[in-house]
């Protein structure tokens, strides 16, 4: 308990907004649509005790316990995507053909402590 520091709800592991613009990465001349999309990312703490809202695994719950006993030797669980959804991208390929491709795991819908 000596290492316990209260975490405010805003610092907890959850999806954060991230818009990826294809022109920012220099892909605007071959990606036709979309011009960008809301990809999101995961950020936040996974403190002890892990609650159900943090989509934790049993392993993560025990890891936070061990971390609270030995913060130097064992890290906290990671805040990572646990549910992602696909998007479709319309683009020109290397032979100028128009391609519509379905890409899995492109948008972070939910984060969890793992």
């Amino acid at each position: 308990s000596s290492y316990y520091t209260p975490v405010t709800p805003s610092n907890l592991c959850k999806p954060r907004r991230l818009y990826i613009s294809f022109s920012d990465v220099g892909w605007e001349n071959w990606i036709i649509a979309p011009q960008g999309y809301m990809a999101n990312y995961c950020l936040g703490e996974c403190p002890f005790p892990l609650t159900a809202e943090l989509n934790s695994t049993n392993h993560a719950i025990l890891q936070t316990m061990v971390h609270s006993l030995d913060p130097e030797g064992t890290p906290q669980p990671c805040c990572v995507p646990v549910r992602l959804s696909p998007i479709s991208i319309l683009y020109y390929d290397n032979h100028d053909n128009v391609v519509l491709r379905h890409y899995e795991d492109m948008v972070v819908d939910e984060c969890g402590c793992r």
Binding site: G26, S85, S88, L90, D96
Partner: protein, 240 residues
């Protein structure tokens, strides 16, 4: 762009490989986006995030086939015969589609040939011409597969038209599967003729010329190809 430049060309190549591309595309003559691809794309955009069920993730619902990649390949074949008709044959063209763009791990699930005409010339033509077209069984279209033997061109499709539509669609899935081997991809021969040879012979040359002129609106051909990359569908199968 700067970030990718800093990462180095080797890492950039790995990144594009992960996205299913051999290198960063640099379109030189970008073609207009085919309407069918726009329609499918826009329909998918309307779905709320996370709405795609895992079992539907690698299926093109709009075409009712498995797949996660839809390409429209432009025809690279040349005209063999067109213009002044001297015989019953109005148009003869080689159709060729470059299948080397399909990656090794992709499974071809659909290939649909689309032949486009810029307008329906029969509707705008005089009633007399339409009457004559019906009398002489209108136009006859045929598609023949090309083989290494000059005289062994297998007839794949034969169809006659009483009216010319804006576009014609043909399922070439089984034929196109053979085109994955470059040496076997010799393309097709598209022929459009006035009815049968006998009916055309009975026509005065002037009439034959008029009937052939009605397909002057021939615009282009393209091949819609759907394929499934098993590797990129593994995630959804695991979840299921």
């Amino acid at each position: 762009g700067a970030a990718l430049g800093a990462a180095g060309s080797g890492q950039e190549a790995s990144l594009f490989q992960a996205l299913g591309l051999s290198a960063k595309p640099a379109p030189t003559a970008p073609a207009p986006v085919p309407s069918v691809l726009w329609r499918i794309f826009q329909r998918r955009q309307l779905q709320p995030p996370g709405a795609s069920a895992p079992d539907r993730a690698c299926r093109v619902e709009e075409l009712n086939v498995p797949g996660n990649i839809i390409r429209v390949l432009a025809d690279q074949g040349h005209f063999i015969h067109s213009g002044e008709p001297k015989t019953f044959l109005c148009l003869e063209k080689r159709l060729y589609f470059n299948f080397s763009v399909l990656e090794e791990g992709e499974q071809l699930t659909m290939a649909q040939l689309e032949i486009n005409f810029s307008h329906n010339s029969y509707h705008t033509s005089s009633g007399r011409q339409v009457f004559e077209l019906r009398l002489y069984q209108a136009l006859q279209m045929s598609l023949r597969g090309m083989s290494s033997h000059m005289y062994n061109h297998k007839l794949l499709v034969a169809q006659s038209f009483a009216q010319l539509h804006k576009s014609l669609l043909f399922n070439l899935t089984e034929v196109a599967k053979g085109w994955r081997t470059p040496s076997k991809n010799l393309g097709l021969i598209l022929e459009i003729s006035v009815g049968s040879r006998d009916s055309a012979m009975a026509l005065p040359p002037r009439r034959l010329q008029n009937l052939c002129a009605s397909i002057d609106s021939f615009l282009d051909t393209s091949l819609l190809v759907v394929s499934l990359n098993q590797k990129q569908c593994q995630a959804s199968r695991k979840r299921r």
